[in-house]
Point group: none
Amino acid sequence: MTTAPMRKDAARNWERIVAVARQLVDEGTPLQLNDVARRAQLGVGTVYRHFPTAEALLETVANPCLETLAAHGEQALTDDDPGRALTDFLIRTIEAQVTEAALSTVTAAPTDALPRTTELKQTLRSVGGQLLERARDAGVVRADLTSEDLVPLMCGIAYAANVHSVPAARVETAHRYLTALLEGLCIRKGPT
Amino acid sequence: MTTAPMRKDAARNWERIVAVARQLVDEGTPLQLNDVARRAQLGVGTVYRHFPTAEALLETVANPCLETLAAHGEQALTDDDPGRALTDFLIRTIEAQVTEAALSTVTAAPTDALPRTTELKQTLRSVGGQLLERARDAGVVRADLTSEDLVPLMCGIAYAANVHSVPAARVETAHRYLTALLEGLCIRKGPT
Amino acid sequence: MTTAPMRKDAARNWERIVAVARQLVDEGTPLQLNDVARRAQLGVGTVYRHFPTAEALLETVANPCLETLAAHGEQALTDDDPGRALTDFLIRTIEAQVTEAALSTVTAAPTDALPRTTELKQTLRSVGGQLLERARDAGVVRADLTSEDLVPLMCGIAYAANVHSVPAARVETAHRYLTALLEGLCIRKGPT
Amino acid sequence: MTTAPMRKDAARNWERIVAVARQLVDEGTPLQLNDVARRAQLGVGTVYRHFPTAEALLETVANPCLETLAAHGEQALTDDDPGRALTDFLIRTIEAQVTEAALSTVTAAPTDALPRTTELKQTLRSVGGQLLERARDAGVVRADLTSEDLVPLMCGIAYAANVHSVPAARVETAHRYLTALLEGLCIRKGPT
DNA sequence: CATGAATGAGCCTTCATTCAT
DNA sequence: AATGAATGAAGGCTCATTCAT
């Protein structure tokens, strides 16, 4: 059961709306449907027809990212090295979070507007959980973390990077923070 | 030069307002001065007289915590063990962050309403920086983090704990996350 | 390039708003957009959509008068008799000022909300200046007044008429005051 | 029946309040009793005790001027030259109006807060009326103006001077406008 | 008398959402 | 379908006035 195909002009409007919304989110402007409509040179009604709420629109902006992350996650599950698999996944995740402004909001939200979003978040949690489990089974990851912790931790790292004073350095900062988290703030003597 | 002492009734109202505000913040309600006034059974004007903006009120709620943290930080500077000093400081910090809801907002805010808040945040950053430096000099902490990173990281941990689904477990979760950050997600073979 | 034509209902509301505003101004009530909305039986938002500020609305009420005055002024420039031309212009001006309450406020305001208002005031000043200059060149008007003085003087006369106790006699009073100004309070012996 | 003598400190406060009010009026700030209290370093209550309304305070600021004007007026009545007497009176009047900001408001107000103000305004109107009448009887002033017109005309001249763009030139402008009014805008051939 | 804290009506403005065109 | 005008609840803030201390 696929959704009925959209009329050509409707599709064009849809794209316009999403594009404008992404732009707004990126520049930190709070997402208001009236505002989106104005910038997209469309009537408010049109925007409401396509997206019943601002959250729905925001999720629509964020979902491609989530799709990509999920795909990469599934891919990572096939990796032989459980440690690398998890690490890669985490790196991609925070990169996405600090790159796409919409993502952090959507990921941290306790409730979703679109079913698809819920699915994606579920998938991501599940994939993350599996990657974590494997790594733990391989003894390369501490045992006191569950799959429930992965998303919060990634959100936290991304948030930390955003709080940091210099916006231009966000990606680099996020990397540094992730590395710190992976390797630990404290230094222990390595194996001889 | 201390501020003139407040009249008894005014002081009572002041307390009432701050108490109501703390309660609101704790239950996650966005802080609105009108709302505070209503709940405190006071005229709006009274609230505005004491706190010109919602931010000022929020900071007033948060500042005692900041004071305490700063005091503990200064104390920690006298600790012989640089590693323990830093760790203790960090533990207290995230504990405060997840316990007092007002704190995380204030800490993450790029700009302050009250001068005292700015002072406190500055002190905290400075103390944290010194603790970090000592620990680094003692070789117990990784070298790629600066004093600029401490606050963001603590905010991130607290945020992560808040994102985590179960609110009741927040303190415990925050502890776990901090430990993970300190020791590292990844396990490395310790010295024989 | 003309402005897009207004929708029929919107136009009706626009008219209603302006009508109510004119009425309020006429009865001396300070112009408040909420008040206008209530009396026009419209939502506040509607009023704000049409007129972003009370000043904009006030100028919209006043501008037709200004347009008329400007037109008459241009007309007066074609008159052969420079004295009569100026006098006619001045008479029309104060008549308008005491008739349309909105006018005096707008004319005396140092700054405008609508570009059109600025244009009109500029035109009026310019036309008045030319009429004055011609009359002066013809030797029928005292030499110590510049085009900068015309508007203030007219505002002054209108104000004087409004201050006068009997409101019903305003037009007549204004006429009398203008005549006094033109001919002089003091009587001098005419030519033999 | 004189008013009970004021206590020394009360008198000092009274002075302070009036001084602050005059200052506020002069700088164009709208007169608010709270504001006055703050600037005078007094409680609001104190200000209210002395002046029940802002209008009363404003009139208190303006009245010395009115007193002076009235005195000069009475004086002028003794002048032999009726024309000069009137002219002098008018000159003083507009000078006062443009010099003391409080005056124009009080003079133009249709109703007064203090009985003394009403008395003074009445005196002024009466004196002006008499001066006008004498001048008219001497044939040096046009006949179509009554004593009711003098105050409005002076208010108008002052208002005109205030509307004029350059504030620094107000006194000079007012003089010019008064002269124009006295001698007439239009030039007529003098006696051979 | 003096004080200044408290009051709350009232104005301003925004924005999510609906619905006539 | 698309449009965008209309709505009005809701929140922000000020300020004249009162009254407990």
